[in-house]
Subunit: 181 residues, 2 copies
Amino acid sequence: VSTSKSGVSRRGEAYHHGNLRQALVTAARDLLKGGDPAAVTLREAARLAGVSHNAPYRHFAGREALLAAVAAEGFEDLRRGLAAALADTKPERRLNGLGQAYIRFAVTHRSDFRLMFGSEVRAALHPELQEAALGAFSLLRDAAGPHDASAVLRAWGTAHGLAHLVANGQVSLEAALGALD
Amino acid sequence: VSTSKSGVSRRGEAYHHGNLRQALVTAARDLLKGGDPAAVTLREAARLAGVSHNAPYRHFAGREALLAAVAAEGFEDLRRGLAAALADTKPERRLNGLGQAYIRFAVTHRSDFRLMFGSEVRAALHPELQEAALGAFSLLRDAAGPHDASAVLRAWGTAHGLAHLVANGQVSLEAALGALD
DNA sequence: ACCTGAACACCGTTCAAGT
DNA sequence: ACCTGAACACCGTTCAAGT
């Protein structure tokens, strides 16, 4: 968002964009907010970034790679949200606090959440995405406190499932939070 | 799959197909099995069904309507699976048995499951799909037995979340079933 | 009623250049 | 290095016909 870093020396300048990669990710994220992942188009993202329909290939192998970068940013946001919840929660309420933060993320980042766990992007093909996802998941695992693996997995599943149901509009946020404990 | 019903009088006959709608849904389901929902294409489904790329519009308003029909079939299958689990489970283990069946459905119908709960199809726009989904969900609600609404929702969330995690390959089937209780 | 063929506006992706 | 323009093969969707 800032123009202070490297490359963009004249305003309106498209050639030697300087931050095209991030501009494309941001554009894609905006397109995604509309709710329809099919609307995230390489050509439209390029248009929003002010470059030719072909410039994105300098930074991304293809459309799916751009979506993977968006999803990876989503997982980083999720990790931050979970970490913040940890800091605000008493140790004995950790599972609960993490669950709440997970569900809140799903509603406040609805379209990101669906992309992160949807089928548009095959995570196995995008190491950067896998790493970001692992970052969020392992925080969950490590931070859950004195519970056995099965209890942690069950708590994860519950938060994850309620988050999906809320994000899909099948359950209200209040009901989901109320069901957490 | 049967040719005995209405219309297909000569083999190889495409004109007055007789069962084009179902043929298209079946074709779409086959395409979906590949794992990539983008591969489900109106034109390719028409090709598989042996009709022109335009014939599907006689039965579906567009691509999304075809996907909605596929998802609706998925929900009917899910409902059947849940009903079968109910019949096989002692009353005091109902929540558990339903959860197991839910997770099993997700792994045996991986791509259907992801379509049913993914973002390709906006359920709100397809009443037939909403009805099929409600059929499965209300079976869950009604059959759960002597539990309060919050406990039923939590159990649904847990099964749903674990099912997603298994379908996405983030958790093994054994671990998910083990976490159920 | 049900189906076809041509046409339009889009996409992802590749290639040969340009600065 | 980074970007452009032309080109290709695909799509969804619409329209005017055909039987």
